[in-house]
């Protein structure tokens, strides 16, 4: 797409995003907020999946660790948002520093070890009920407030999330375009070659894992202020799987892809389920269709269609 066209598209999307709460009701505003948050989680998974070639299934752990930390600090210890939110991101990132040991393995072993890590964290959230509240979780999380400035409604929170997500996307873009991002893609393509070129592959992957965990933690903090409660479901295996599926459906290795994926997954679940009880099958069919006909996700599919149109135009 020409540069002007791309800018026009981005501006249109941005305008639509800004205007949405004014046009749509609170339900849609809330749902789209959720889409941004899970899109961010999917984006964090995709840093490993799309760029470094690592399929992680434990990102719900960082997400939940951050959410629980922020919630417990805010609710039980009345710690203000200015401390509780960064503490949440920090706690999730620290967990990523530990679980990052998983990058010593590759392929199916990496997948298995991350699944195991994910279950350990879920188990702690579920069983350590005197601290985490067990199934009931932590409730009554207030809206974020920093000093005199406080979020009063879901509409205001929508704009906060939009701003954070845009900043993250921008930072992510810089990160993946940097030499570090290039090195990650190099490792994905051929780790042995990168090693022979003198790159510290393990260290690169470890760093990517921690950055990815930090991003997932940020999504977790945004999530807990949106939901206003957190329980062990946030740490559960399906959350990790869904985040990866979002990235795959939308298109791995891109920035908009994970967000498109999250729109489709959450949209289907919330909208289709309101009139069709077998919505889970619809989601299954969408996933099969993507894997069969658009293995690069919907973003990849759009690119392919455009290329074909251009070729037809030229021919």
């Amino acid at each position: 797409m020409p540069r002007a066209g791309r800018i026009a598209l981005a501006l249109t999307a941005l305008t639509a995003a800004v205007l949405l709460p004014q046009v749509a009701g609170p339900f849609w505003t809330g749902l789209v907020t959720q889409m941004y948050i899970f899109g961010l989680l999917a984006l964090s998974v995709d840093l490993l999946l799309g760029h470094a070639g690592l399929f992680s299934l434990c990102h719900a752990s960082f997400f939940a660790m951050a959410a629980y930390t922020t919630a417990i600090l805010q609710v039980r210890y009345a710690v203000p948002t200015a401390l509780a939110a960064p503490a949440g991101v920090l706690a999730g990132t620290l967990l990523a520093l530990v679980l990052g040991l998983a990058v010593r393995t590759r392929g199916v072993y990496f997948i298995l070890i991350t699944i195991a890590f994910g279950y350990v964290v879920w188990g702690v959230a579920h069983r350590w009920s005197s601290f985490t509240g067990g199934d009931n979780g932590v409730t009554n999380v207030p809206f974020p407030a920093v000093g005199a400035w406080r979020v009063e409604s879901h509409t205001e929170y929508y704009y906060l999330v939009l701003a954070v997500v845009l900043l993250c996307a921008l930072g992510y873009r810089i990160l993946v375009a940097s030499p570090f991002g290039l090195a990650l893609r190099g490792i994905k393509a051929s780790e042995t070659r990168m090693r022979s070129l003198g790159f510290a592959c393990g260290l690169h992957l470890y760093a990517a894992f921690v950055v990815s965990g930090a991003l997932a933690s940020l999504a977790g903090v945004l999530y807990v202020y949106y939901n206003r409660f957190v329980n062990p479901v946030a740490a559960s295996f399906p959350v990790s799987v869904e985040a990866a599926l979002m990235a795959i459906i939308g298109g791995t290795g891109t920035i908009v892809g994970p967000f498109i994926g999250s729109w489709i997954m959450l949209g289907l679940r919330n909208w289709v389920s309101s009139f069709f009880a077998l919505y889970a099958s619809v989601m299954g069919l969408v996933f099969i269709a993507v894997v069969l006909w658009a293995p690069d996700g919907l973003v990849g599919l759009a690119g392919r269609l455009r290329a074909r149109a251009q070729k037809a135009g030229a021919g």
Partner: protein, 415 residues
């Protein structure tokens, strides 16, 4: 050319018309008094608890069909939103029925861990929530919401009489408790353990199993030899697995097992005559209850759905009956949320499960029945297994014999 200019000239007018339409749209609740009453029902239509979810929908709709979808002189509409037994989904769906469907109040959810999520939506929007089936103790004890009332049951409410029954009536002194390892299971089991031990009973062992435990062999092997009875609190598919394992290991010849929360109506079709004679449940409802109200309810349910109702069906039916009684008493003015909640808290209802009324902490005071599995000849269904109550604890409070202050000070049951 002219047409185009007209089009542009017409645009502001069209926009204005649109805005007016939108304005009317948002202003319409002022006239809603005469319109239908919309109720948001929040069952898990899909997911792990889809079977109880179906009973919930069937029970709820059965009542409103009988009532002609009328309450307080207004028509009643039901919006069903699938929570899938996932708190995130429950939260989003609750917000949907409140904001999109503009329901006057919500009924549900069923899964315990969805309770706090939906209560959150009630708290932030002020739309009343009639909590049905979700049994987390905290909702009507330590974490109450002014706009939430419960019409079903609080988990430990059925556990307390069960512990009393084990000690006094069954004469057990060294009981092994098998409990499901999640909030509901903890609260029912530990509620029973408390009343049982306070009477002087000794706990041989408590064995916790996560939901979906595949093999109950290790559990059975872990039962101490000197125990004089086993109490079972199990949910979902585990109910069948424990049942099968118990007989396969020949335990029925060695030991007595008693269901505190086990052989519910919805699972009995998957069992057989070996269940006959077992104590199935200590619960606020049993399908075999011989009262005119329950007879009418079970017959109507059986006629329509070709099965007997589980407590989930009765619970939703009673939630509907309770809300209709409340709406009738305020002549349909449900938009006055305070009046509606006050009515919910003060009306008395003769439900299929017996007389029910709200305590000061928004949880029903109701009978708890100890029931035995028997095969009955049902006029419509033929031979069926069902829970027949034989011992009634009347007007049981969620605080049992303690004062609310004592109970609240002690804190929630936790393993």
């Amino acid at each position: 050319m002219l047409a185009t200019r007209d089009g542009i000239r017409g645009l502001p007018r069209a926009l204005a018309a649109l805005l007016v339409a939108l304005g009317v749209g948002t202003a319409s609740p002022a006239h809603a008094q005469s319109g239908p009453i919309k109720i948001g029902l929040l069952p898990p239509v899909t997911g792990p608890l889809a079977t109880p979810g179906r009973d919930m929908v069937d029970g709820f709709k059965l009542f409103w069909e009988q009532a002609g979808y009328k309450a307080g002189g207004r028509t009643v509409e039901i919006v069903v939103a699938d929570t899938t037994c996932n708190p995130d989904q429950a939260l989003t769906q609750a917000r949907r029925v409140v904001h999109q469907e503009k329901v006057q109040f919500m009924v549900g959810p069923l899964c315990g861990h969805e309770g706090p999520a939906v209560a959150q939506v009630s708290k932030e929007t002020g739309v009343p929530l009639v909590m049905d089936a979700a049994g987390a103790d905290v909702i009507t004890k330590w974490d109450r919401t002014p706009t939430v009332v419960r019409t079903a049951v609080s988990a430990s409410q059925i556990g307390h009489p069960w512990g009393d029954y084990l000690y006094r009536e069954l004469g057990l002194r060294n009981v092994t408790f098998i409990g499901q390892d999640y909030t509901w299971g903890h609260e029912v089991t530990l509620g029973a353990v408390r009343t049982y031990t306070e009477l002087g009973g000794k706990v041989a062992k408590i064995i916790w199993n996560p939901i979906g435990t595949r093999d109950y062999g290790p559990t059975i092997a872990a039962i101490p030899k000197d125990t004089d009875g086993v109490s079972a609190v199990v949910v979902g598919v585990d109910r069948v697995r424990l049942f099968e394992a118990w007989f396969n290991f020949g335990m029925d010849k060695k030991l007595k097992i008693f269901g505190g929360y086990w052989l519910h109506q919805d699972v009995l079709p998957q069992m057989d005559d070996r269940a006959i004679g077992l104590i199935g449940n200590s619960l606020h409802y049993a399908a075999g209850l011989e009262t005119p109200e329950n007879r009418a309810f079970t017959d109507a349910f059986a006629r329509k759905h070709k099965r007997l109702p589980s407590w989930f069906a009765e619970s939703a039916y009673t939630a509907a009956l309770w809300t209709k009684t409340a709406i009738d008493s305020i002549n349909g003015t449900v938009e006055d949320r305070a009046a509606f909640l006050r009515a919910m808290r003060t009306v008395r209802v003769n439900a299929p499960r017996g007389p029910v009324r709200m305590d000061e902490y928004d949880n029903p005071i109701q009978n708890v029945y100890i029931s035995r599995i028997q095969k009955i000849k049902h006029p419509l269904l033929g031979d069926v297994l069902t829970n027949v109550p034989f011992k009634t604890y009347e007007a049981v409070s969620q605080f049992w014999k303690w004062t609310p202050a004592e109970f609240l000070k002690r804190g929630p049951y936790k393993r």
